[in-house]
């Protein structure tokens, strides 16, 4: 960017897109801040171009995956018939597949993936630690135990999502207390999370075996996470939670990005790091718990989605939108694999995410160790 010397007079915001520009020696002159989505004169959201491009690509991939989910396989609706089916103009088989079999499952999967992705992004930002994500530190397992308790032992008296929230909060409290240093100590956080997850899984197994020992599907859903036999009620649950919390998450996004520079600096810049963290952790817990209450403790989506979003855009800050999109895409692809792969017959989707996410976690660990940051 040698031409920067000739255009010093420009406002400093110009290098928001500076490095992406071709080196053709023709500086672009344009009034106003660059790289912003503007709405009249009052609103200007700073957006990096790569983030927008990535988001569009992700949405397209998500649509493609959704079409594949609905149309592949012997019960699939052919692509040409999809629009008719959406218009209500379809045969009995098509409407059954769309309304009962695969439609709810797809919608639940996308909602769960988005919720897990955002939840992971929030938590990783608060702990400033890629491993400090809800599935590593026992939050999802705790939510699963709470959901299992509420659904199977206390059926009727406590709604399942409330049970999941209580379980997740309990697990986080236990992790917080047993690390002795809050969420700050990286190593202790992870190991305490493994212990808490083990306790939570033991509770889940106890409950499932105490009540529904013969029902293999219930067991799969509560232990591994599964999307089979989800209905529109589940879809409503997760999407209401996501829709209600998204504005709050958007509000906390900027202060969190500031907080990633360290508590002292964030405080000096006028943010309230402690308050921001409390809000972010609470939101993260509710989002994870919502996802777990409809789909069970799905492994590794909240770990991988924010990390992938970060890798692609190479930016700072929590990347909440992209994390949500990546999470939704991962979940949709994993469920497509669970439905269509020929090797295993209808495995719970959580087993696929566990296998792929485990390999990714291994890669992440090796990378961190090379850098000496863990």
């Amino acid at each position: 960017m040698t031409q920067n010397t000739t255009s010093r007079v420009e406002p400093p915001t110009r290098h928001a897109t500076g490095p992406d520009r071709p080196d053709d020696g023709t500086p672009v002159h344009r009034p106003g801040p660059r790289g912003c989505l503007t709405l009249g004169d009052t609103v200007a959201l700073p957006v990096r171009r790569i983030s927008v491009v990535t988001a569009i690509v992700l949405v397209l991939l998500l649509v493609a995956t959704a079409v594949a989910t609905l149309s592949l396989g012997s019960l699939g609706i052919p692509v040409s018939g999809l629009l008719d089916a959406f218009g209500g103009d379809a045969g009995v088989k098509e409407s059954f597949v769309l309304e009962r079999l695969r439609g709810p499952r797809l919608v639940v999967g996308i909602g769960v993936g988005a919720a897990l992705g955002v939840s992971g992004a929030l938590f990783q930002s608060v702990t400033r630690n890629p491993l400090g994500s809800p599935d590593i530190i026992g939050l999802n397992a705790g939510a699963g135990a709470g959901a299992a308790l509420a659904a199977l032992l206390l059926a009727g008296s406590v709604p399942v999502p409330v049970g999941a929230v209580l379980g997740a909060a309990g697990a986080m409290a236990l992790v917080y207390v047993s690390t002795g240093a809050g969420f700050r100590s990286r190593g202790r956080l992870v190991v305490a999370g493994i212990g808490v997850a083990a306790i939570a899984n033991a509770i889940t197994q106890y409950v499932v075996y105490a009540v529904e020992r013969d029902k293999a599907t219930a067991l799969n859903a509560y232990i591994h996470g599964s999307l089979s036999t989800r209905d529109w009620g589940d879809a409503v649950t997760i999407w209401v939670i996501v829709t209600l919390l998204v504005p709050l998450v958007a509000l906390v996004s900027r202060p969190l990005a500031v907080g990633e520079m360290g508590d002292d600096l964030a405080g000096a810049l006028g943010a309230h790091p402690a308050r921001t963290k409390t809000i972010a952790v609470t939101l993260s817990i509710v989002l994870s718990a919502g996802a777990v209450s409809v789909a069970g403790p799905i492994a590794f989506i909240s770990l991988t989605a924010p990390q992938i979003a970060k890798r692609v855009t190479r930016g700072t800050g929590p990347h909440l939108t992209l994390a949500a999109l990546v999470g939704a895409l991962l979940m949709a692809v994993a469920d497509l694999a669970a439905q269509q792969l020929p090797w295993f017959d209808e495995l719970p989707v959580g087993i696929y995410t566990m296998a792929v996410g485990g390999v990714y976690l291994g890669y992440l660990l090796i990378r961190e160790w090379r850098r000496g940051t863990l």
Binding site: T179, A198, I351
Partner: protein, 348 residues
């Protein structure tokens, strides 16, 4: 060497006289044996059918009626396997914590149990292996491979890092567990009898299982006992151990071989049971200090007692159903992990 270690023993109070400490240790060992005997008795008394302690005594003297005799005798193999597996897991945990100088080392946490399970499941599903002896032979390479892999991952670089090892174990366990679950869920007819094995359970085993893993357990245990003095030297650090005439590399290798033998034997017998190997050595150290010779012997008493008691609890809480012992040990052992985390230093 022994004088060096005993004067460096940090617990037990440096001013306690040698005789008082020996008396205390003897007391603790005797107490452990009593608890183990009670646990064995409880394992024979409690179950889905009601029997009393008197019934068990009658059966042992041969004066009970045939009905009661059948019920109680059906609990013999279960109790024997519980003792053997508990011993293996606890001693393996002790060894690994000594060899890696890592208070979090444990066969379950470090992926060794998961490796053994994955190997056994592969052999059963795809290679047609069946029967407890074949299972045993397949558990060994899986356990060994997983152990080596986790240590290679965890100690890449200069020194072995506690958190790295645990994380590497968690990663390997996650991937292997996904694989094991995928195979067992997709071939339910093959794995009908293995469904409980995958979680870790003492039920449904007979004496064949016991006798086929016995040689491995005995071999591993003898090696562990032989290694005790060298582990004491190793606890002082590599340099001091070398200066004292010990060979750290050899001791480490032998320790890991022994730990792998023991955990493969336990996993083949009862499935992957986590946290016994973590919790028992911590309790043992708190009770009798850091001398590895004593730690190994006492672990061999406390491990079986813990596993049998966990099994008895699992039989009682859901009567007439049973909770698998692996679930109960997680309840007991995971708090031990949290306790160890709180005491961890320099891992932030």
């Amino acid at each position: 060497m022994t004088t060096v270690t005993s004067t460096h023993t940090p617990s037990g109070g440096a001013r306690t006289s040698r005789g008082a400490r020996a008396a205390r240790r003897a007391l603790v060992l005797a107490g452990g044996l009593v608890v183990l005997l009670l646990a064995c008795a409880a394992s024979l008394v409690y179950g889905s059918s009601h029997t009393t302690f008197g019934d068990v005594v009658d059966v042992l003297r041969g004066t009970a009626d045939s009905n009661v005799t059948t019920i109680v005798e059906s609990r013999y193999p279960r109790t024997a396997i519980g003792v053997l597996a508990g011993l293996c897991l606890a001693v393996a945990g002790s060894l690994m914590q000594g060899v890696t100088r890592n208070p979090l080392a444990e066969p379950g946490l470090l992926g060794i149990n998961a490796g053994a399970s994955a190997s056994v499941v592969t052999a059963t599903a795809f290679l047609g292996a069946s029967g407890s002896t074949a299972t045993m032979w397949w558990a060994l390479p899986g356990a060994l491979l997983a152990g080596v892999l986790v240590h290679a991952l965890g100690s890449a670089g200069t020194s072995t890092n506690l958190v790295r090892l645990v994380l590497a174990g968690a990663v390997l366990s996650a991937v292997l567990t996904a694989y094991v679950q995928a195979v067992t869920l997709s071939k339910p007819q093959v794995f009908d009898s293995y469904r409980y094995w995958v979680v870790g359970a003492l039920s449904g085993r007979d004496f064949d299982v016991f006798f086929s893993v016995l040689p491995f357990a005995v071999g591993g245990f003898l090696l562990a006992v032989l290694l005790g003095p060298s582990l004491n030297a190793l606890a002082l650090g590599n340099d001091t151990a070398s200066a004292l005439g010990s060979r750290p590399g050899l001791v480490r290798g032998a320790g890991l071989v022994s730990a792998t033998l023991l955990s493969a034997a336990a996993t083949a017998a009862v499935g992957p049971v986590a946290f016994v190997g973590l919790a028992v050595p911590h309790v043992v150290r708190a009770l009798i200090g850091v001398d590895f010779r004593l730690q190994i012997v006492f672990s061999a008493i406390a491990g079986p007692a813990l596993l049998l008691l966990a099994d008895v609890v699992g039989r009682i809480v859901l009567r007439p159903q049973e909770l698998m012992v692996g679930v109960v040990t997680a309840f007991i052992g995971a708090p031990a992990l949290l306790y160890a985390v709180r005491r961890m230093k320099g891992a932030s």
